[in-house]
Amino acid sequence: MSLNKEQIAQRIAKEVKDGYYVNLGIGIPTLVANYVRDDISVEFQSENGVLGMGPFPFEGEEDADIINAGKQTITTLKGASFFDSSLSFGMIRGQHVDLTILGAMEVAENGDIANWKIPGKMVKGMGGAMDLVASAENIIVAMMHTNRAGESKLLKECSLPLTGVKCVKKIVTNLAVLEVTKDGFLLLERAPGVSVDEIKNATAGRLIVNENTPEMVL
């Protein structure tokens, strides 16, 4: 059974370690916050200028001056701080943020990522994605293994305009957990009930399969 978006987020949450400062992108990455173990200390950074983001406010308690990078109203937790955009990207560029989780349209076997522009369609912009992928040490991509047309999103080379080069370290999809190595995508885990052949068929880039790839534990 391939994973749904919530389950992808649940699996990625296992990569979040005690003491991490984490930046979550929009979409599946945002859901990761719901699955982080509550016996560890983690702070979520939002690039519009907050560290220590909390859940959505209770009805009637929203504050137009406190939002996340998705422009959603949020709350802050104990120990939170606000700062300007330059300092925020200083945190990112200066590699003070431990983990970045973001979505992608395509990832190449060398770690290139494309997630901001489809030629011929309205381009909304890269927001903070180029800064994040250019600087973060530890980048996990959360995405579906194939696009709506059933084509692989794990490619030999990206076909769309790049967001960053050789930067993705790990990918969690509805089918698998993969690591980007110098030889290609290394299959680390399979989604429960998904065969290695299914993953091979859905991966256009070079896939390295070791014997006995374990199933994910959610």
Partner: protein, 233 residues
């Protein structure tokens, strides 16, 4: 004390002309200089180049200037929430330069701090880096980006005093502090304008030296773009 004097929005925007370049604070609709934007609409200045992380929505923020075709060029990092923007961009009426958000912030800060240009890894190997000088530091490629050159900065703060000192609130801070002093003239609008001495010097985010004109905004709508709430159990 150097008194910046409380001015009205009319006085604060004196000297604003066609063809100028403006830096405008705000992230989405959060912390935007609402009153200055409304005044720019009323003044009907045209052919503007506006640097702002986003471009407002159709009927609020910079969207109001777009409706009246006052903007010639937008420099932003993300512009997803505006139909009129999309229409003008696709028809070629509006020139759009999309740049990484951290680069946008740092190009403001560089202008504020008198740094003409800087290297950043953001955008290397992408179309953002095309045609730009690049250089490798510690084994990692970077591209050269330049400080903005602008005529006016329009920023919004929570509290200010007659000396031009500013304090921001929550994530309405965003690009506002880095745009102060990044243009020839900085106009700050505030929710509360207080006599000098009212603000604790330890708590000031932006010293008045970066602010030439200050006024109290007549009203703040503070529109919420994405209202997300939980129900009380």
């Amino acid at each position: 004390m150097i008194n910046k004097k409380e001015t009205s929005v009319d006085e604060a925007l004196q000297g604003v002309k066609d063809n100028m370049t403006f830096l405008l604070g705000g992230f989405g609709l959060c912390g935007i200089p609402e009153n200055s934007i409304n005044k720019l609409v009323a003044l009907n200045v045209k052919n503007l180049t506006c640097v702002s992380n986003n471009a407002g929505v159709d009927d609020f923020g910079l969207g109001l200037l777009l409706q009246k075709r006052q903007i010639k060029k937008m420099i932003s990092s993300y512009v997803g929430e505006n139909d009129e923007f999309e229409r003008q961009m696709l028809s070629g009426e509006l020139e759009v330069e999309l740049i990484p958000q951290g680069t946008l912030a740092e190009r403001c800060r560089a202008a504020q701090a008198g740094i003409p240009a800087f290297y950043t890894p953001a955008g290397y190997g992408t179309e953002v880096g095309e045609g730009k000088e690049s250089r490798v530091f510690n084994g990692k490629p970077h591209i050269l980006e330049h400080a903005f050159e602008a005529d006016f900065s329009f920023v919004k703060a929570w509290k200010g005093d007659e000396a031009g000192n500013l304090i921001f609130k929550g994530t309405a801070r965003n690009f506002n502090p880095v745009m102060c002093g990044a243009a020839k003239i900085t106009v700050a609008e505030v929710e509360e304008l207080l006599p000098a001495g009212s603000l604790n010097p330890n708590e000031i985010h932006i010293p008045g030296i970066f602010v030439q004109r200050i006024f109290k905004g007549e009203k703040y709508e503070k529109r919420i773009e994405q209202l997300t709430v939980r129900k009380k159990e």
